[in-house]
């Protein structure tokens, strides 16, 4: 088991990157992280911390949003990724599942899944479609319906299933819990875990829901306004008093009350 999540082999290595949007807005101020093969690595932090930007910098989806990696480097299996387009990355085995699911609404569920296999062809595609249906039996029932009319949880399954269809080695999963009921969040994370264990898919997971993410991940990084402020094995982070207080809403004397928000602000300054 990958308890610490840190095996020797780092699949993806992000080294001190800086990202600037529109030539002026500095969003990431030197983020470094490493994703080990076969692990689930969580990237945690609040709104606007830079989680999504980090993932998009890796998957080169930044280009279409006028964002740019201006410093640092991103390596995958030792090769530099900058300059590759998203299609090239998908062929290398890195695919991003975007925040907010982004299904193709007017395509059926099955067409959505097949679109995921755009970069591949041959008989394996049909076999992988079967595999996706094995993991997400609900999608098999709804294969003929338009993705736009399926529920939020089903759309998240479509989005993950679609990424699986590209036969990825690494999935960059952005906020799978967004807008889903707690029960569904557990279900989705359960599937992520089994994909990780059974299919050997490596995950880099951006989440706001620190509680759930740290239960399923092996290793975690905490981002705050464009910087990594803390990292460690998920089990350690769960026990860290500051993480407990700022991200899990707990303190030594039980649950934190909103009355103490001001002290929260003051004390948090050490992090950045």
């Amino acid at each position: 088991m990958l308890d610490a999540g840190h095996t020797e082999e780092a699949l993806l290595e992000v080294n001190n990157i800086e990202v600037i949007y529109n030539h002026v807005i500095l969003v990431l101020k030197g983020v470094s992280l490493s994703v080990p093969k076969g692990g689930i690595t969580a990237l945690l932090g609040g709104n606007g911390a830079g989680k999504t930007t980090t993932l998009k910098a890796i998957s080169s989806l930044l280009q279409s949003e006028r964002g740019e990696v201006t410093k640092g480097s991103i390596h995958y299996r030792g090769e530099r990724l900058e300059g590759l387009d998203p299609a090239g990355l998908v062929k290398k085995g890195v695919i991003q599942v975007m925040e907010g699911r982004h299904c193709f609404e007017h395509l059926t569920v099955e067409e959505n899944l097949l679109t995921g296999a755009y970069t591949r062809s041959g008989a394996e595609v049909a076999r992988d479609l079967e595999m996706v249906y094995e993991y997400f039996p609900r999608l098999r029932e709804r294969r003929k319906s338009q993705a736009g009319y399926t529920s939020g949880g089903e759309q998240q399954m479509v989005a993950i299933g679609r990424a699986l269809m590209s036969k990825p080695e690494t999935i960059l999963l952005d906020e799978p819990s967004m807008g889903l009921a707690p029960q569904l969040v557990e279900e989705i994370f359960g599937i992520v875990k089994s994909l990780n264990e059974n299919e050997g898919v490596t995950f880099l997971l951006a989440e706001q829901n620190t509680n759930v993410a740290l239960r399923y991940a092996h290793y975690g990084y905490i981002l705050e306004s464009g910087r990594i402020v803390m990292d460690g094995p998920a089990a350690d982070l769960r026990e860290n008093p500051d993480v407990k207080e700022f991200y899990l809403g707990m303190s030594d004397d039980g649950r934190k009350s909103f009355r103490d928000v001001r002290s929260y602000r003051r004390r948090k300054r050490w992090l950045s």
Partner: protein, 333 residues
């Protein structure tokens, strides 16, 4: 059958066939709009440009001959060959694919992520550029396009329908233009081919995926540039068909590009995002304007065809803005 009913039928038939041509132009709009959100003002000029190119290639005209002659003092105008229509159309298709690539490479690649209004203005610029380019390449004189399509009324239909009238009535049969019949058949084939392509091929599926969500399409490894070149090429092929049909009817000249204006009400009626909508919208407008002219034209002083389509479109804008078949915005609550 009474003569009045036969006349009504004839007008309807002619309307349907005019509608097919409108639909053809509208189809080009829909293809590009769906896949890239660009309202392509240049679609009409693309039809003109393709018709000019086709004539030029078939007649063996030297492109830019005026320019070359003026610069070098030479007197070249013709290569001295004639190419038959089939190969002419094939070459024109190649030219349109090249054009699609250039448009994507030099204009829209640099405008990714811009406001729709900016993209629209770029297509206006493109329209004028292509108009000038067409003139410069092939000259601005009116050309006749002889691709060997049949012209004139169909005698078979005239003879057949003449016998339908009741005994003793003076009726000489319906006038149906043969060119219209050909245009209808060709347009039908084109539409069926397009729909099959979009529904059942991998690239067609990718095309629809891009239409739905650029970012997501990008994230699964679809190359937007490739899909956009593909879509502009398809719109170019549609423009060739529209250009050939209208060009054969009324000569290849500048006014050909104005058929784009007739496509606008069709789009408002059928919806900007629906291929079937473009077809049905075209047919409704075609039949509607011909019947209206036939029934009410004399009362209103004639020439109702000029405005009928726009008034109909206006009514649709008020009561059903997404058109008959436009995609409803799916919003989950």
């Amino acid at each position: 059958m009474p003569v009045a009913f036969l006349n009504f039928m004839e007008v309807t038939m002619n309307g349907l066939m005019a509608g097919v041509l409108y639909a053809l132009v509208a189809l080009g709009f829909v293809l590009i709009y769906k896949a890239s959100g660009i309202f392509n003002y240049a679609q009409g000029v693309m039809a003109l440009f393709s018709a000019l190119t086709l004539v030029g290639i078939m007649e063996g005209q030297v492109p830019f001959s005026h320019l070359i002659n003026a610069l070098l003092g030479t007197e070249i105008h013709h290569f001295g060959w004639h190419i038959n229509a089939f190969f002419g159309i094939l070459f024109t298709m190649v030219v349109m694919v090249g054009l699609a690539y250039c448009v994507q490479r030099f204009v829209f690649r640099h405008l990714v992520g811009q406001e729709p209004i900016i993209l629209f203005m770029a297509t206006i610029g493109l329209a004028y550029f292509m108009e000038g380019l067409g003139d410069l390449m092939w000259g601005s004189d009116i050309k006749t396009l002889a691709v060997g399509l049949p012209q004139g009324g169909s005698f078979a239909i005239e003879d057949l329908t003449a016998t339908w009238a009741a005994e003793g009535e003076r009726y000489y049969g319906m006038y149906i233009d043969q060119l219209d019949i050909v245009a209808t058949v060709v347009a039908a084939i084109l539409v069926i081919a397009l729909v099959l392509f979009a529904q059942y091929t991998k690239q067609g599926r990718a095309m629809r995926a891009v239409a739905d969500d650029h970012q997501a399409a990008l994230s699964v490894g679809i190359s937007l540039n490739f899909i956009w070149v593909l879509v502009w090429s398809l719109a170019g092929f549609v423009a060739i068909v529209a250009g050939v049909m209208w060009g054969a009817k009324s000569g290849v000249q500048f006014s050909l590009s104005l058929i784009a204006l007739k496509a606008l009400p069709v789009l408002m009626l059928g919806g900007f995002t629906s291929i079937p909508g473009a077809i049905v919208g075209g047919l409704i407008i075609g039949v509607g304007e011909k019947l209206f002219e036939y029934q009410f034209g004399p009362m209103l002083g004639g020439a109702t065809e000029n405005w009928f389509a726009y008034v109909l479109a206006l009514l649709f804008l008020v009561f059903r803005p997404q058109g008959l078949f436009g995609e409803k915005i799916i919003e989950r609550v």
